[in-house]
């Protein structure tokens, strides 16, 4: 099971859990499983073409998946996945 870090902006969808253990061989599989367990999650991550929205970055360990193999990036059980959306707050 890989560890997925949920950003604060999306925690209301996961019952305020900040990290989840999810099974999957690729980033895409893990995010699909996340959406099955927490309905509405996929809608927040993907655009109408099924691509990750451009103001959200998904990292496997320290690397962003656009620099790897996108949603097809393979994931090992000890990997961590971070979902990092743009945040504007500063004051």
């Amino acid at each position: 099971m890989s560890t997925v870090f949920i950003p604060t902006t999306l925690r209301r969808l996961t019952g305020n859990q900040s990290r989840l253990s999810i099974e999957g061989a690729t980033v895409g599989e893990i995010l699909a499983a996340l959406d099955r367990s927490y309905p509405g999650f996929g809608e927040r991550l993907f655009d109408s073409n099924g691509q990750v929205k451009r103001f959200i970055n998904i990292f496997v360990n320290e690397e962003e998946i656009r620099t790897l193999q996108g949603l097809a990036t393979p994931v090992r059980p000890d990997d961590t996945i971070s979902i990092v959306p743009a945040m504007a707050g500063g004051v």
Binding site: T9, F55, N57, E64, V84, A88, G89, G90, V91
Partner: protein, 418 residues
């Protein structure tokens, strides 16, 4: 009976042990190898009256304690000099005991250097009160007098005198950053005081830039604080940002974030960017390439977030709340990065996104890469001037237009001089 040496016998023995070079030979060697470690071991007052250009200063009394910060390699050649060539012999002997194998003493010392007509540098000196104020910086070998003078010469612009801008401004003023510009059109209100530590009960209702100027001048009268009591827009951004060495972003909306990113990139100013939300913060440095200083440059905000979220998709701190201490931590990290950029020490947070989660009490660092297709800093840029950011983000940068905003703005920024 224990044998002893006279002063002259000790020096004669050291002269036989320690290799010596004349000032001219040292000068030639420095020309050939600019990375040669040359250390002035005289007292601070002597160093300040003039020293060999390119030399580092460690008083002899701190030499063994600090040498490893400057040269940890025991095989590397190290040239020591003092005023006349005697103290450097003794000091060379001390370094030898630490295992340094290639320590050279400069014969006749700095006076010999000057007499040989070689160039020397008289450093700009701090005033006695500055020496006292910045004492804890001055003893850091990484900063020292040179780093402190760089801070005193530096100009930093802070966008937003709010949660992030407050701690950043306070620490930068305390550190002696020469000019701090602050852009904020807002007035202090009581809900700010839970986290915006620049302001206080006595400045509720006062423009934030005025409140900031009062507080920062009290903290450090050395610092010139320039307030820009106006919203940052595509029309005024270049005029405000130009001339600053570093920009810190502490704004609270996407249009301003894209505007600051684009303006900094187009002006070639490093941007220390951060944002916060509830219990979580992000910090990174966007460093434009600077071939003149051999700086390769890193990604920009648009590499990381090519498009803004649609309006309403990401709630604001005003809607969702923010732990008051959170901007204290993140804004302080911004101040650290600004100081590192100014004094050119350490590894800046370029190409790395630092994530902080207060509930987990965890820091994580993620790699961010330059996007070759970035419309601003990529290979074929399409954004070559500032654009309409409210249209780009589909949202107004100013959440609630008020009378204060639509009022004509003062032509000159409010300035409180040194």
């Amino acid at each position: 009976m224990r044998s002893y040496l006279s002063r002259d016998q000790l020096l004669a023995r050291l002269r036989a042990e320690v290799p010596e070079l004349s000032p001219r030979e040292v000068h030639e060697r420095m020309q050939r190898d600019p990375s040669l470690t040359v250390i002035d071991i005289r007292e601070e007052e002597e160093w300040l009256q003039g020293h060999v250009p390119g030399a580092r200063h460690i008083s002899r009394s701190f030499l063994e304690l600090q040498i490893e910060f400057i040269q940890p390699d025991r095989q590397a050649p190290i040239v020591l000099y003092c005023a006349g060539g005697t103290r450097s012999l003794l000091a060379a002997h001390n370094l030898h005991e630490l295992g340094y194998e290639n320590v050279i003493s400069m014969r006749t010392g700095f006076s010999g250097w000057v007499n040989a007509g070689l160039p020397f540098k008289v450093p700009r000196a701090l005033r006695p009160d500055q020496r006292e104020r910045y004492a804890r910086h001055l003893i850091l070998p990484e900063l020292g007098e040179e780093g402190q003078l760089r801070l005193l010469d530096a100009r930093v612009l802070i966008v937003g005198a709010g949660g992030l801008g407050s701690p950043a401004a306070l620490y930068l003023a305390a550190a002696g950053v020469g000019v701090i510009g602050i852009v904020d059109y807002d007035n202090v209100d009581r809900t700010n005081l839970q986290r915006q530590i620049l302001h206080g009960e006595s400045t509720v209702g006062v423009p934030k830039v005025e409140s900031a100027i009062q507080r920062l001048k009290d903290l450090n009268p050395d610092v010139e604080v320039i307030g820009y009591r106006q919203p940052l827009t595509a029309a005024n951004a270049f005029d405000i940002l130009r001339g600053y060495d570093v920009v810190l972003n502490g704004s609270d909306n996407f249009p301003t974030r894209y505007l600051v990113n684009d303006a900094c990139h187009l002006l070639g100013i490093p941007l220390v960017d951060a944002s916060i939300f509830m219990f979580e913060g992000q910090v990174t440095v966007y460093q434009p390439a600077d071939p003149a200083r051999a700086i390769e440059g890193g990604p920009c905000y648009r590499c990381l977030y090519p498009d803004p979220p649609p309006p309403g998709e990401v709630p604001s701190c005003a809607e969702a709340g923010v732990l008051g201490v959170l901007p204290g931590i993140i804004g302080s990290i911004q101040a650290v990065e600004a100081i590192k950029l100014i004094t050119r020490i350490g590894r800046p947070l370029v190409g790395r996104l630092l994530m902080y989660d207060a509930l987990e009490q965890s820091f994580r660092t993620l790699h961010v890469r330059r996007d070759p297709a970035c419309p601003l800093c990529g290979e074929h840029p399409t954004i070559t001037e500032l654009i309409d950011y409210e249209q780009f983000c589909g949202v107004a940068a100013l959440p609630t237009p008020t009378a204060a905003i639509s009022m004509p703005l003062p032509v000159a920024p409010q300035t409180v001089a040194r």
